[in-house]
């Protein structure tokens, strides 16, 4: 295949332009300096510098013209850049002519100022063409790009899918390289017509067939893949944004219909709900089983004493001051140890004391630790009267009462714990007869009474044998 000669010449433009920029600017500087007696010796070089710069400018104009024919650039920018470039070339020819016909000094000086300004502006426009208009100022305004692409849309069903949802996604994630100012791979995504036209490798979308659409494929490639879009260092589309694009392509890329007029398969419904709420960007659900407020670090001496008694005391996370305490390998347990627990009550978030002998003093200390969100007090002598005092533990979310002496009466005392989510009551005094009462009183709490059995099936004890 023959690459056309014009195209080839055009490709040299980005190299050639540096010649007139450098040489003409040098000529200007030489010209200004030569006014000073000290630098009078450089005068003979000025003429040559102007000549070389002029030749460079002419070749740049020619190659630039071919390049503008072969690539898709924003027409306004190209027009300005092209004509300013041509003017620069003409002014430099004039300057050379004037220089050799010994025009007066002010004229030469003003010519050099004109050249200086022209070269600067033309060069900047050329840079904008290749790197994008916001290339220079990008760094100054970068933080504004983060954040949600789409604000909450309370009336999402009435929104027009393309205009109100798809186009803003393209605008936020793709325009900077595939928009009016820059067309990497000759692809523009800023109007339905451009999207359908595709880029230098052909179509990027196939209406109704998202799996065959290059655009979707590129978005779904792993971040490490060379062809992944957007490039690794640019802000990425969230999964919900991708599924919206997928949906738009799979339903035929309509540009006028409202969301409610388009078929909604099951998998798009939660995404549309998120769109309505403005939560398209939410990725992971934050850990909620810790108190929301921050807390001061616990007394290291107390932690040391607990650890010496064989009790595991560690922060719930490296940066957190909340503590997780486990009695699993406690050497001996006594009331003074529980007293120590009370002195870390602000930090104690998760506590496990499976099978630990309980005294009333222990319960007092335990219930003073009101920040607890997870408490496992299984296989202990805990009774209803003691459990009543747990109603102070307002942050409690998960409570493990397996193998304790509590009954339904005791459990119902926990009615006021608003955050309670899971309670385990396997092997306690709670009977299935009370189930209805418990369900009515502890609404929204998942209560696991255990006693599961796995029935014995014929297959569990027999083997399949090979036919003889």
């Amino acid at each position: 295949m023959l690459l056309s000669v014009a195209d080839l010449i055009g490709r040299f433009h980005p190299i050639l332009v540096h010649l007139p920029i450098g040489i003409l600017l040098l000529a200007c500087i030489l010209n200004w300096l030569s006014g000073n007696e000290k630098y009078a010796g450089i005068k003979p070089a000025i003429s040559l510098a102007i000549l070389l710069g002029m030749i460079g400018a002419i070749f740049s104009c020619i190659s630039g013209y071919f390049l503008s024919q072969s690539a898709d650039y924003s027409e306004d920018l190209v027009w300005n850049h092209q004509w300013l470039g041509i003017i620069t070339a003409i002014v430099s020819i004039t300057w050379y002519y004037l220089y050799h016909n010994s025009a007066s000094k002010p004229i030469l000086k003003w010519s050099s100022v004109a050249i200086f300004i022209l070269v600067t502006i033309t060069g900047h426009l050329g840079g904008s063409l290749t790197h994008g208009e916001d290339y220079l100022t990008e760094m100054l305004s970068s933080p504004s790009k983060a954040g949600p692409v789409l604000a909450a849309m309370p009336n999402a069903p009435d929104a027009i899918l393309y205009k109100d949802v798809i186009n803003p996604i393209f605008e936020a994630r793709c325009y900077s390289c595939h928009g009016a100012n820059k067309q990497k791979g000759k692809l523009r995504l800023d109007s339905p017509a451009f999207i359908k036209r595709g880029g230098e490798d052909g179509e990027v979308v196939v209406a109704g067939k998202p799996e065959e659409s290059e655009l979707i494929k590129r978005l779904l490639l792993s971040l490490d893949a060379k062809k992944h879009m957007p490039p690794r260092n640019k802000s990425q589309l969230t999964e919900k944004e991708i599924s919206l694009l997928h949906w738009w392509i799979s339903t035929g890329m309509d540009v006028t219909k409202k969301i409610k007029e388009i078929d909604q398969p099951e998998n798009i419904k939660p995404v549309l709900a998120a769109l309505q709420k403005g939560t398209l960007d939410e990725k992971t659900i934050p850990v909620t089983d810790l108190p929301a407020e921050t807390v001061k670090p616990a007394d290291m001496a107390v932690i040391g004493q607990l650890q010496k008694a064989g009790i595991v005391v560690i922060p719930v996370a490296r940066e957190s001051n909340y503590l997780s305490v486990n009695f699993v390998s406690a050497l001996s347990v006594n009331d003074s140890l529980f007293g120590l627990l009370a002195s870390i009550k602000d930090q104690l978030a998760w506590l496990k004391m499976d099978g630990v002998p309980l005294s009333d003093a222990a319960i007092s200390s335990l219930t003073s630790c009101t920040k607890q969100t997870r408490l496992q007090i299984s296989n202990t002598s805990l009774n209803d009267a003691q459990l009543a005092r747990f109603s102070k533990l307002l942050n409690l979310q998960s409570l493990n009462l397996v193998g304790t002496k509590i009954t339904t009466k005791g459990l119902l005392q926990l009615k006021g714990l608003a955050h309670l989510k899971n309670v385990y009551v396997y092997k306690t005094g709670i009977t299935s007869a009370d189930w209805l009462v418990i369900k009515q009183n502890l609404k929204g709490v998942s209560i696991d009474s255990g006693n599961y059995s796995v029935p014995m099936l014929v297959g569990d004890t027999t083997l399949v044998k090979a036919p003889k």
């Binding site: 792993s222 971040l223 490490d224 999964e239 990725k283 992971t284 659900i285 850990v287 089983d289 810790l290 064989g310 595991v312 560690i314 922060p315 719930v316 996370a317 490296r318 940066e319 957190s320 909340y322 486990n326 699993v328 390998s329 499976d354 496992q376 299984s378 998960s398 493990n400 397996v402 899971n422 385990y424 396997y426 696991d448 009474s449 255990g450 006693n451 599961y452 059995s453 796995v454 029935p455 014995m456 099936l457 297959g459 569990d460 027999t462 083997l463 399949v464 044998k465 090979a466």
Partner: protein, 507 residues
């Protein structure tokens, strides 16, 4: 002189010679030369070591390793949902097409020649020429509110489908057992990397100092093909390697003191060994020696606690019935019950391997409708019981249960050397298989990923070993990209350069 006296005398002489060797002039000179050389090298490379200023920043984000107490519990990077992991690995690779991935279209193609498009450019372990397609060898139905497809090979598990998140489109790039198992558990198909359990105990330590943090239990009559490297510690300190235990008899061999040796004498001998090791440490400063000291101490403590915790016989009868254990025999169900006991007692990572899932169909024992059905029966009740038992004890919330193999099986019937297998069997398949997770902050009753209509390739929700590892670490409170260990001059991580947390299956 009796034999014994002779022996004692020889020992004494050896000891004396050793002491002399320590202090000869020759030894002094040799050590000096080496020592001076080491000093010189040390100053040359002073900036490359782990203690240099360059690594100060990374040290603040990495794990504080205390060689004298390597297994003390540590805080994760962020609050984790899961505290422990039970990983059930079916070594040999179970067939997803007979368990979870229902493909009615494949049944229609049963017995037909495999289309060339599925064979072109592909490599299989045994298939040659043009194999026949093989329809599902089990009956499928949807179960639970989540309408999960599970075959009649797992009637018990079907009842707890709503606890499970299935990953239907797992893929790997290894089609032989050993490298595929290594990839699944160490993040590399080649030897030398630490296993997941080692990483986890390195990062989190373990809550019960009287038990190992990482326990391995095997069943099925054989070790996994990759050998003990699948629970090895690689370049991590050796204290983090998996401790292989037995579910019958002594959990750890030679854990009992031999007859005639009292507990005090044992203590005295361990103290003596540790004192010698301490001296050695003071001379060489090798942290591995401190680890060794702590291991001796742990072994001493384990002598008391391990037989108690690791004895499943003191569990009530109804629990044994629930799991379907076989008292007195080594079997998967016993291991599963033991795994629950260990997790209950604060063991961090329990790794089970059950061998015998390699369904090639070259004999009845590995055929899909005979031997593999029996394998399913041997795990079904126990796994179901495990999920329910953890749930009723309130432990499923913080225990991540993972089930899977090292790869999947082909939709084609195996035709080793071009001859159809005498029984129904499938070859190794890398492009699509099923792994499931439950508990530990994983979504209940969910299915992620799809395969094509014959179960050959993954078409959506494709995940790999690295993604599963990243997800497991995430549930334990680690960002897999920041959880590293410096080795040979660069930080290493479990997921190498890959891995993406599978957010879809997180609750």
């Amino acid at each position: 002189m009796t034999q014994k006296e002779l022996h004692d005398q020889r020992l004494l002489k050896e000891a004396e010679a050793a002491i002399l060797r320590m202090h000869t002039r020759r030894h002094f000179l040799k050590e000096s030369a080496m020592g001076l050389g080491a000093l010189a090298i040390g100053s040359l490379f002073g900036n490359c070591g782990l203690n240099s200023a360059n690594t100060a920043k990374s040290a603040s984000t990495s794990i504080a390793f205390d060689p004298a107490h390597p297994l003390l519990p540590k805080a994760p990077q962020f609050p984790g949902k899961a505290k422990s992991v039970i990983y059930l690995h079916m070594a040999g690779a179970p067939s997803q097409l007979e368990l979870f991935d229902y493909k009615p279209e494949l049944m229609k193609m049963n017995g037909q020649d495999c289309p060339p498009s599925l064979l072109a450019g592909k490599q299989f372990a045994f298939i040659t020429g043009v194999p026949k397609m093989l329809g599902p060898q089990a009956k499928f139905a949807q179960h639970g509110e989540s309408r999960a497809w599970i075959s009649d090979n797992l009637p018990h598990l079907s009842t707890v489908a709503d606890e499970i998140s299935f990953l239907k489109a797992v893929s790997t790039d290894q089609f032989n057992h050993a490298p595929a198992q290594l990839l699944m558990h160490t993040g590399s198909a080649r030897l030398g990397r630490p296993s997941m359990g080692s990483w986890v105990t390195y990062g989190l330590g373990t809550e019960n100092q009287n038990l190992p943090g990482f326990v391995v239990l095997t069943s099925g009559g054989s070790f996994p093909d990759a050998g003990k490297s699948v629970w090895g510690s690689g370049f991590l300190p050796s204290v983090y390697q998996g401790v292989q235990c037995r579910s019958e008899g002594d959990p750890v061999l030679f854990i009992k003191d031999p007859d005639g040796m009292s507990r005090n004498l044992r203590k005295a001998s361990i103290d003596a060994i540790n004192a010698a090791n301490q001296q050695e440490y003071e001379e060489y400063n090798d942290p591995e020696i401190l680890s060794r000291i702590s291991q001796y101490e742990m072994a001493y403590r384990m002598q008391i606690t391990a037989p108690e915790v690791m004895n499943i016989n003191d569990e009530p009868d109804y629990i044994h019935e629930m799991y379907g254990t076989k008292p007195g025999k080594a079997c998967f169900a016993n291991n599963v019950l033991l795994a629950r006991k260990l997790v209950e007692k604060g063991v961090r990572y329990v790794q089970l391997f059950d061998w015998g899932w390699d369904a090639h169909g070259d004999n009845p024992n590995n055929s899909l409708n005979i031997g593999i059905v029996n394998k399913c029966r041997s795990i079904d009740k126990a796994i179901t019981a495990l999920l329910l038992d953890l749930k009723q004890r309130g432990l499923l919330e913080e225990t991540l249960v993972v089930w899977g193999g090292e790869f999947g099986r082909t939709p084609m019937m195996e035709n080793r050397n071009g001859i159809d297998a005498p029984y129904k069997g499938r070859d190794h398949h890398t492009e699509a298989f099923t792994i499931w997770m439950a508990g530990g902050g994983i979504k209940k009753g969910y299915s992620h990923g799809e395969t094509d209509e014959i179960g050959y390739s993954s078409i959506s929700g494709k995940v790999q070993a690295y993604d599963i590892q990243a997800t497991i670490l995430n549930q334990l409170g680690f960002n897999h990209e920041e959880f590293t260990y410096p080795f040979q001059g660069r930080p290493f991580r479990l997921t190498d350069v890959g891995g993406k947390v599978i957010n879809e299956i997180l609750a």
